[in-house]
Symmetry: none
Subunit: 216 residues, 4 copies
DNA sequence: TATGAATGAGCATTCATTCAT
DNA sequence: AATGAATGAATGCTCATTCAT
């Protein structure tokens, strides 16, 4: 017995609306999205949407924040796997890089970026609620890990923030191009190659002799 | 003598509308833009807009293509300045990098990217008419230059396309972050620092001993 | 007690819009009619019109069909009164003719004809949905009655369809002229005279000796 | 020498516009017609139309009047052929009837009727300038001829106006139906049959023994 | 005279939002 | 809480008409 459907129903409905909202916003953009379609996708009536959210703007911001939360959690989990390995650093970083590449190409992630980009003029809050909590947060987490590797002597002494920024740059920018702004699915092999090339360049720039790169 | 203003009126009006259109589309996004505002900014009446362009979509696409043309021309001109210098490669690349960084942060450039990103689902043509003619074209031009440097022994043997892709990645992605998706003007000093760091990493990864980097 | 006004509201509104639509279309013609005026006449807001009908075209077609339905019902009822009388056929036919003359001069009927005539090029469907269900249907019903009279020996043997066609022609065409295409109300006396002359000619052409016309 | 093309050109242009106007008005109806299309069909520019005619309304009225003139002339010519024949009246009337049937089915004629019908509310003048000069005028001319036949003893004593009215009614109303309001071309054979049936009924009602009908 | 260009006014249609149930 | 119905406010687009050449 899961209990009465009363309070549970509400929560589910609210969540369903949030999910539907992000889906439709992602598909059409903010202005082209009509609340009617969100309601339909959520399996609710239009007024129900307004019972849960103040208006279209609020719904958009909440849906974006929620999606940002999800994306960030996944990315942080990936980065959190970084540790100072006993052997080569390369394979570890490549695995991480590949996972991040996959993650940033996934639909929700792409939509989040596109919507933020498109609407940041109209909703400056997105910078904090979304960008700050995803891109920035990820860069910080990665910087932390890189600092540890640096202290452990596995990377040369450097500004971890800059290193993190460049690691992500070498990863995300090429993936963006390869996916044609997200309109094309990047084959796993290509994503792996991008990750490998990124790590290769990264280690050439930031590695130490103890990094034990193959090339060394 | 600039000639009579007679026939000029037409061309100027059309151009004025195109310019106004890009300005307003950049400010508001495609759907939030109303033709009325474009007309006002262009100093014309609404029907005049429709005399020159089929409809809002066509106007958007033409305005985007024109802006893409402009942006591309500037970027290509910057890259075209690359040559095999007698002395250090570093200063040359840093100058190029700085100019590109400035260029990609400039308003038109940013708006073009944001609008393409936001509307590529609705107007798949943008991929060709805008993205292909700006980002891709720039990457190709840079790859050509890097290939020459490689042949000249100033860069290690490498895949010039990959090198180009990474050079641009190290430049544009950090600038994107620093400018907070274009909502903040990046100080010249910061842009210069980004350029320097990018070139530093690039040369560590792709330079040769004859590159004569300071660090060497 | 007519019951709660709750669910009625919907049906009434829709009907009110249909009625208003026909009124305004009749007054102005299809293209000159603006939905705004229909809404006003119906006591509704413009979007309400669009909640009930797909678009202006659909509204027009439904309003025409509904009006056709009404007109047809009345005309069929009139014709249905024809029977084989014991005495003279003349008075009966004259009564019927007079009623039909009145009916086809009435505003709704005239408007239906005029609108069908005017828009049949743009809405070929009108031929079926309106013309077929009014003019044609009436002619068929009358033909049936005339066939019965013929079998009863009250009319000479003839093609009932042709007789029906001519009976109606003798009635409607003159009424059309007399009413100046519907811009003038035909006095009852004049309508009666038209009916009488029509029946007179009809019986001269189709009557038998047992018809017992005065002239006989 | 036909002289300079100056004044001639103007006249031709004006006529071309009038013709084009009627063509397009007939095709689309008054309100749906845009001056642009008239200009195109006439091979002129829009302002040229306004150089010749005050505005759209004036153009419409003139085009209608001109078309009415043409139609009337043809119909009067047909009726004018009626004379008191030596032999049977039937064949003569049938020939006349057939010609009138053809004439009233012809495109210009139909369009004139439909447009008058549709716009008589908006342009009451049409009643005089068009209807009066076509339908009424035709009925009068025919009445004159029938009066002569009556005096000549070839038709029974009667009200010639009523006889004329009914003759035309028996002709035009069925043709209207058969042509599905002008959307279908009535085959010559069918038109001939309608004419024959009309004349048959007419002579049964208005003929005399000297009419020498076959049936007699 | 004829015309390319420009415009004021208007209209169908959509949509976010609110009532009444 | 959820919804069918209703609406005020926009917005894209068209068209009759007028300038300026």
């Amino acid at each position: 017995m899961t209990g009465s459907t009363g309070p549970r129903g509400r929560i589910d409905k609210r969540q369903a609306i949030l999910d539907a909202a992000f889906t439709v916003f992602a598909r059409r953009g903010y202005a082209q999205t009509c609340v009617q379609e969100i309601a339909e996708v959520a399996g609710a009536a239009k007024p129900t949407v307004y019972n849960h959210f103040q208006d279209k703007e609020a719904l958009f911001l909440e849906a974006m924040a929620a999606a940002g939360e999800t994306v960030m959690a996944r990315n942080l989990a990936i980065v959190d796997d970084i540790h100072s390995p006993k052997g080569d650093l390369g394979p570890l970083l490549e695995r991480i890089a590949h996972q991040l590449a996959q993650s940033c190409c996934e639909e929700r992630s792409r939509a989040l970026r596109a919507l933020t980009y498109a609407e940041v003029n109209h909703f400056p809050n997105l910078l904090e609620t979304v960008y700050g909590r995803t891109a920035n947060r990820l860069a910080e987490a990665l910087a932390g890990k890189l600092a540890q590797l640096s202290l452990a002597g596995r990377l040369r002494t450097c500004d971890p923030a800059a290193a993190s920024e460049q690691f992500l740059a070498l990863l995300t920018a090429p993936m963006e191009t390869r996916s044609r702004l997200g309109t094309r699915k990047v084959p796993a092999a290509e994503a792996k190659a991008v990750a490998k090339t990124a790590v290769d360049t990264f280690l050439r720039a930031y590695g130490t002799t103890t990094t034990n790169r193959k090339a060394a």
